[in-house]
Each structure stands twice: as C-alpha cells, then as structure tokens.
Amino acid sequence: MADNPIEQFGIHPIATNASLAMVGGAVLAAWFFNWAMKPAALVPNRAQVVAEGAYGFIHGMLKDAAGTEGVKKFLPFVFTLFLFIFMANMLGMFPGVFGVHHIFTPTSQIVVTAALALMVFFTVIIVGFAKNGMKFFKLFAPSGVPGYILPFVILIEVISFFSRPLSHAVRLWANILAGHILLKVFAGFVPALIAAGGFYGILSILPLAMTVALYGLEFLVAFLQAYVFAILTCIYLNDALHPGH
C-alpha cells in the first residue's frame, strides 16, 4: 500500500454521518448515566430515577430470561446493547439541527444491526462451549426424540440456530427502515399537495396529520425495537448457560 513514507501524514476524512451518529449515541448514553448518577442520592432526583429505572428494567428482564447467573455474567453486555440501540433509534427521530440535513439513524443500516446480532451469536457460542464443553451440543438434540428421526431433528435445529442472527438483525433493521421511509413518504405529500394549489392545498392537512401520528408511533417503535432486541439477546444467552431445552 504505502511505498511512500510521506503518505502516513496524509489527511483523510475518517467520519461519516453514520459513524458520527453511532459515536453520538454511545457518548450520549454514557454521559447521561454519569450525569444522572452523580448525586447518587438515597432519595433520587428525576434523572436518577430514569437511570435507575432503566437499569432495573434490564436487570429484571435478564433475570427472568437467564436467571441470577445470567445477570452476573451478562448484565453489562445486555444493558450496553439496549442503551446503544435505544439511543441510536432516538437520535434518528430528531430532524436536522445546526445545519445538518437530518440526523442519521445507524440502526437503519443492516451492517450495524447484523454486527450487533453476530456479536450476540458469537457470545452464545463462545460462552456456551467455554461453560458446557461438549454438552453445548445438547442444544441441537432435544431429549426424548426417537433415534430414527434424530438426524433430521439435529439438522433442523442447526438451521434454526443459524437463522437466529439473521432474524435478530433483520427485525430491528426492517422496523426502523420501514418506519423512516413511511415518515418521509407521508411528509413528502404535504409540499406536493400545497404546490398543486387550490383545493389540493387544503387536502395537505391530511398527510400532515398522518405524519404527526406516525411520528408518535415511531417513538414507540424506537423503544420497542430496542426492547425486543434486548429480550431476544437474553433468551439466546440463556441457551449458552443452559443448553438442552
């Protein structure tokens, strides 16, 4: 690549709007929790209630799905995933500020969600083998299956296992992408109808109302998809700790 020793001093753009939004989401989450928990008061103020509530929410979710052992091992991982996805989704809900055309939604790129889902997938495999050794293969062979259909069941279970990261990634990506496209399409009707003039201009109130309603729905989706991603992570991680259904 670099034959020329001077090339290392070249200036390249290293940030895209996508990477900037991701860093922004991560920094925002870290800053909020540091700021909210700084007083660490016995009787919390409002910000601290939010921070503690989020922690308790994920803690309870992980405990239900993977037990106390799961909480001990995976709480930082799941909490980080949830916060990152939630912040990325929420940042994407803001229209442009400071001359930025609009804030990018990192979770609308499948490469981002696929990376997150594969991280969970490989965590399950590595922790599963490290903790259970060969017993981890019991995940693919449910007990009580007669011997003559066992090969088929194992094949089907293996495919089912490998399909997890795909559906895990696609669900978050498709929800966010579809929601933002829908918003853009309905919002685009408004200037189009106004430009048509006359009676059509009056009609433009309808897509405007729809956009406002969809915006509310998108806020719900932004939270719900982060929640769904986190709870599926909990369920998959439980398999790593307790293989064999």
Binding site: G56, F57, G60, M61, F152, L155, I156, E157, I159, S160, F162, S163, R164, L166, S167, V170, R171, A174, N175, F223, L224, Y227, V228, I231, I235
Partner: protein, 112 residues
C-alpha cells in the same frame, strides 16, 4: 405509636407499604406487542430459517459438487426449521399471554 417500634419493624412496615403501592401501580411488565410486530416476528423467523437452510444447502453443493440436491434438501429442511421457529415463538407468546380462563368457549371447538 410508630416512634416506639424497633427500627426493623418500621423498615419492614415501609417495605410492605412500598410493595403494596407498587402492586397497584404500573408494573414492570413488558409493553404489549402490537399484532403487526408479532406478525413481522413470525414472518421473519420463518423466512430467516428458509434462507439459512437454502444457503447451507448451496454451500454443501459448492464443496461436495452435488448440485442441485443440496439446495433442494437444504431448502426443505429450512422450511421445517422455519416451522419449528414459528412454533417456538408462538409457544413463548402464549406462555407470556395466557388465555383468559373466563373467556367463553366456542361450541364447535371441541372434537366430537
């Protein structure tokens, strides 16, 4: 009087009241999923299994030179795995949302 109680009693009384108040208010239960998101979940689980099965079969074809049998068998197994996935999701859904025991039964529902 409350002041005469030992501190443990006062604390446990507080805990009891906090728990009672928590039980009445909004719980930590997960937010309800909309039917549309549930449908997307079923579809995603099924489709993902079919795609992965077909890809695995295609990969087997590529390395063992059995075109097109690996793809055909892999896709069939993928469909089976998709059904397994959907059944699992449905099971976890009905475990989380049990049927109301007071719901009226449909007369024709039973096997005669």
């Amino acid at each position: 009087m409350a002041d005469n109680k030992p501190p443990e009693d006062a604390l446990s009384d507080l805990r009891r009241r906090v728990n009672a108040a928590r039980g009445e208010g909004a719980s930590d239960a997960p937010p309800p999923q909309s039917p549309a998101s549930l449908a997307m979940r079923y579809g995603g689980e099924f489709g993902a299994a079919v795609i992965v099965g077909a890809l695995l079969g295609y990969g087997v074809d590529h390395f063992v030179h059995t075109t097109p049998w690996g793809l055909i068998v892999g896709m069939g197994l993928g469909f089976a795995a998709g059904v397994v996935n959907v059944v699992r999701v449905a099971q976890s859904y009905s475990r989380a949302n049990p049927i109301d025991p007071n719901a009226p039964s449909v007369p024709d529902d039973e096997e005669d």
